[in-house]
């Protein structure tokens, strides 16, 4: 099995799937911030994207720039087949861990 994905990596990968053709750096940042409900540094997203691309979980290509970016190109990301596999593995692992338990946990049970 490949390296287990961290929660933040999973959030970034799922965001890329959700955004589809619009998955570029800042759009990913905004979506991740919204879903995790916390402030996320742009650098953290860039480093994560870079690391996952090196692992072969993502591929990227440069697109066009926009006036608000002073013409600087956007880099668009998409999942590779190993990326999809890693995300499926991560989800399966969580499901296995939770199998047999009802969620949310009952108060009495969590106190035991």
């Amino acid at each position: 099995m490949a390296d287990a994905l961290g929660a933040f990596e999973q959030a970034v990968l799922i965001t890329i799937i959700r955004l589809g053709d619009e998955a570029y750096g800042r759009a990913i940042l905004k979506d991740v911030q919204q879903r995790l409900e916390r402030d996320v540094a742009p650098g953290a997203v860039h480093v994560t994207l870079d690391r996952m691309e090196k692992k072969g979980l993502l591929s990227s290509k440069l697109g066009s720039g926009t006036p608000v970016r002073a013409g600087r190109a956007r880099r668009y990301y998409r999942l590779t087949p190993p990326g999809v596999r890693a995300l499926n593995d991560a989800r399966a692992a969580v499901d296995n861990i939770w199998r047999g338990l009802k969620w949310p946990l009952a108060k009495a049970r969590s106190m035991a």
Binding site: L29, G65, R69, R72, A73, R74
Partner: protein, 207 residues
Amino acid sequence: MTIDRPTTSPPQWGEPALRLFLKPEDRESVPGDLLEEYRLVVRPARGRLRADAWYVWQLAGHAWRATWPWGAALAASVVFRNSLDWWLSPTQDFYARSVASTWTAIAIFMGSGASTGWRSRSLRAGALAGVLTGAIAAAIETAVSLGQLAIQHDAHTMRMIAASGGLEEVFVLPFIVIVPGTFCASIGAAIGKTLAVVYSRAKTNSA
């Protein structure tokens, strides 16, 4: 307010400095993402000064990520050497230890420059990495040395410190070292950049 958003910009020196710490293939997209966030969200919400501070903070994050392990390694080597001289194995003959710590520092500075040069393919980035590595190490060393001395400052310790160069060496040398360290990092950057170019060409030829 909306009209002037596309023309508002972070400090002029910010983007060139940021690009120094980026891989060539990221030098368009990463500054573009930051500029977009700056113009659309940060500047309208926080005003110019705080938005500029935000941008500088993002830049500092990139610089920090590129250099902190080297700075921490250098600080660890100096703190270890001090502990050896003061408490673990006091000596009167410092020659061998001095040679070992000097070459360790040279290797760390060169490593910092080489990794930055490899990544950014920029000699200036390597030199800047040297400055930051030295500055991070000096800050950590100063803090740790102060802590060590606050805990243990008996007569034996003070004698050993005096024998190994005195308090000036403990608190001034880490900052002086930044100058030759930057030179070493520049040499490392030249090596890293050359290796990256050679590797990239070999990869292209074999593809």
